[in-house]
Amino acid sequence: MRIKHILLGYNKNKNGGEWMFKIFKKSFEKTYAPVENPPAPSASSKISTCLSENTFYIRTRCGDCFDIVIRNVDVSGTNGFFLLCDGMCDGLKVNNNVIEPILNSKELPQEPVQKFETIRDKIVGEVDIKELINVEDALEHAMSGFLVFFLEGVEKALAFSVQGFQTRSITDPITDVQSRGSREGFVEHFKTNITLIRRRMRTTDLRIEVQDMGTTTKTKICLCYLMDRVDGEVLSNVKSRLVRSEYDIVLASGNIQPLLDTDNPAIFSAVGVTERPDVFCAKIAEGKIGILVDGTPYAIYVPHVFTEEFQSFDDYANRPYYATFVRILKWFSFIFSIFLPGFYVSFGTFHQEVFPQDMLFQILSAELQTPFPIMLEAIIIHFIFEIMREAGLRMPKTVGPAVSIVGALVIGDAAVTAGLIATPMLIVVALTAVSSFVVPSIYEPVAILRFVFIIIGGTLGFYGIIILIALIVTNMCSVNPYGVPYTAPLLPLTPAATRDIILRLGWKHLGKRRLETTKMNN
């Protein structure tokens, strides 16, 4: 009995708990003893006049962090220390612009406060200086690449802007490719991004407000807008959404996108994303609010309407007739990418009369040889395409050619020759896949909706597809991000605004009246 109980881990312990596993539990606890939580920041983490108290506070908060460096110095007889984060500061600036002038200055007053003020106003002149009164602020600044200076007897600290961490240089934007736009894309460091914007909009109306988000990461978020064009209500709405967030970690603009997106369940996102500073500036010039997130090159802007997915920067650089042609191409590509497989499946399964005779013969003879019904075939082949697309996105570049060859062979010739997939279905997949990359910004909802349309087309036919289209359009019409209808200016129709939707009229017409998205309501 006892052995069985031992084997089964039977609970004989009156105190509860499985004694069989207590041994393991104890050893587990020993190895992975939870670290004692660091003391929470006290309400009064003010800088003390006593240096050792400040040092103690910093060491207690940061523990034995390798990169938090405290360098004690003697400033003309008064003790002080520099706090910095190793690797975040520019060594040359630190030495040449800050430490040397401070340590080598001869005419410093003896009184600590006066000494402090002299250093602040006269000694260090080539870098930006901030005055801090809180040790938490000082730590935050140090972790942002500032060099923080504490002086014995002074209840303040100085933060010198000497950031010199490695950032990516400005390169071509990867996702938003334009043939006539600039070759500069946003980078991870938000200050560089701000300069990219400021260089393009040298107006006093441009406002840039920086705030922190995320209780752990304290990521810098920049709100950019034009004072004379932005809608006050929209701005306060955006600000309140950002303020009331309870995010712990913010590492990308995609993390805060749900905060700014519509409250109603919607298929398409009402937040625009761009990697290009020129597009970003164009959007804020329309009265929108742009948001930069430190650590990611993707900026977002609100409010965003559906028809903007089909507008690109190149449209305004090209001649109107060509720009119109490209716009119409984009709309058709969108229709192909979302509807073509569903239409093909529904026509092939239920409504064969739509096909011309010769085409029907080809389709039937091809489909007859395959083991799966049309709907299943469509789902399989589209799923395989998504796998290949995802693999192509994530795989290392060295493996790329091999995977491409396998993919082309497997899906291309072998599947058809083996009789798994019919050739007409391959044509449909190929056209769908190529069309979906003409408007890459809405790829995600399109990819999912495609599958939904295939299933509906295969089960309910074309009539089911039509009902689904109506439902999707109704859902889009129910979304009003920041008071702007998502389907504006098509639904409700604003005739003046349609000059830049499917057609791109010449500048004579476009320049007539400035229309702001926030004012396109019922």
Binding site: E353, V354, F462, Y463, G464, I465, I466, A470, L471, N522
Partner: protein, 361 residues
């Protein structure tokens, strides 16, 4: 949801136009008495006249830029009267939904979808309409503009591919057997225009000149009907009498060069008209229930009404002779007289008698 929403007059009347056109497109030509094919065309004229005349109480009742619909005004006159009126309107809208689904069922089982159990598809349409009603009148009216464009494209495609086949010899002499059957047919067709009751319910949500919009709507409805029936008669002649739904046959016959057999694409736009109509009616039923029971719940009424309609549709298993129930003119005539003529008249008279002026919320 969206109680303070104001929808533009154009959008609302596109909604009304689409929902009424569905009945025209799936209309069974009345073989009443000895009506000939051209009389079917003149029925439209009488129909428009009758609608104008019966809409006089509605014209007098609607007010522009108001926050109160007919139910609110009835409640101001007397709370009990308000509840009774809400009940009557609720029953009317439920009847309209059931009649629409039955008509659509007849259309679909006779003409399209040969082997699928179509009742399931009807439930799916009701489910879709339920979701649309939950999203609100603003979304429905905006999406109806898109649907109207699609409908117009298919309508024009039919017109341009078929107008060359019109043979004026297919028309019969006007009123060969007298105008009596035609007027009777118009009287049967008139009480299917429940959109007037919908206007009374929606007037608090419309911004713009409602009376002007209504006039344009009725004229537009007449024009569409005239064109469709003219083409039906001109192209098909007496063949029309053998067809259950001649408008469908017209879409079958519509060919233009290599674009043949496109009737699937053309008739699918008619299904969108059903979607709009049923969504609006479910939404209005919700408004009636809010007045009748309590205005705490929005979506619950929508869901309950959808379930009721789905269950009734499931049990109304279509048989060949159930079309007779559909064509029975008594029920719609009674409901139409109440909702479009009697109740607005009572409201107008009571407001004058009681001198109720302030019924705005």
């Amino acid at each position: 949801m969206g109680e303070k929403v104001k929808v533009s007059i154009e959008q609302i009347f596109v909604v009304m136009l689409l929902s009424r056109l569905f009945i025209t497109l799936t209309d069974i030509p009345p073989i009443i008495g000895s009506m000939e094919v051209t009389d079917y065309l003149f029925r439209v004229l009488f129909f428009i006249l009758l609608v104008f005349i019966s809409a006089i109480p509605v014209y007098l009742t609607v007010k522009n830029d108001t926050n109160a619909n007919i139910l609110d005004r009835c409640v101001c006159i007397s709370p009990i009267f308000g509840k009774v009126v809400a009940f009557i309107y609720g029953i009317t809208f439920i009847y309209v939904i059931i009649a629409t689904m039955a008509r659509f069922d007849m259309f679909a089982t006779s003409i399209i979808f040969p082997k699928t159990n179509f009742t399931g598809f009807l439930v799916i349409i009701i489910l879709a309409c339920m979701f649309a009603a939950i999203l609100g009148i603003e979304s429905i009216s905006r999406s109806s503009t898109f649907i109207f464009v699609v409908f117009l494209v298919s309508f024009l495609a039919v017109v341009f591919s078929v107008y060359k086949k019109v043979d004026f010899l297919n028309f019969s002499p006007i009123f060969y057997n007298g105008a009596g059957s035609t007027i009777k047919a118009a009287f049967i067709s008139m009480p299917r225009t429940f959109e007037l009751a919908a206007v009374l319910m929606l007037m608090s949500k419309i911004k713009g000149n409602i009376k002007k919009g209504m006039t344009f709507w009725i004229i537009g409805m007449g024009l569409f009907q005239t064109v469709i029936i003219f083409l039906m008669v001109g192209v098909m002649g007496d063949y029309m009498k053998t067809q259950l739904i001649p408008a469908y046959t017209l879409s079958v016959v519509a060919e233009y060069g290599f674009l043949q057999r496109m009737d699937v694409l053309l008739t699918s736009t008619w299904i969108l008209c059903v979607y709009i109509k049923v969504s609006v009616m479910i939404y209005l039923f919700k408004d009636c229930m809010k007045t009748l029971i309590s205005d705490k719940y929005d979506n619950l009424y929508i869901i309950v009404s959808s379930i009721i309609v789905s269950v009734i549709t499931l049990f109304l298993n279509p048989k060949a002779y159930s079309i007779n129930y559909l064509l029975n003119p008594i029920i719609p005539l009674v409901l139409y007289s109440l909702t479009v003529i009697a109740i607005p008249c009572i409201v107008l008279i009571s407001e004058k008698v009681k001198d109720v002026k302030n019924y705005e919320k």
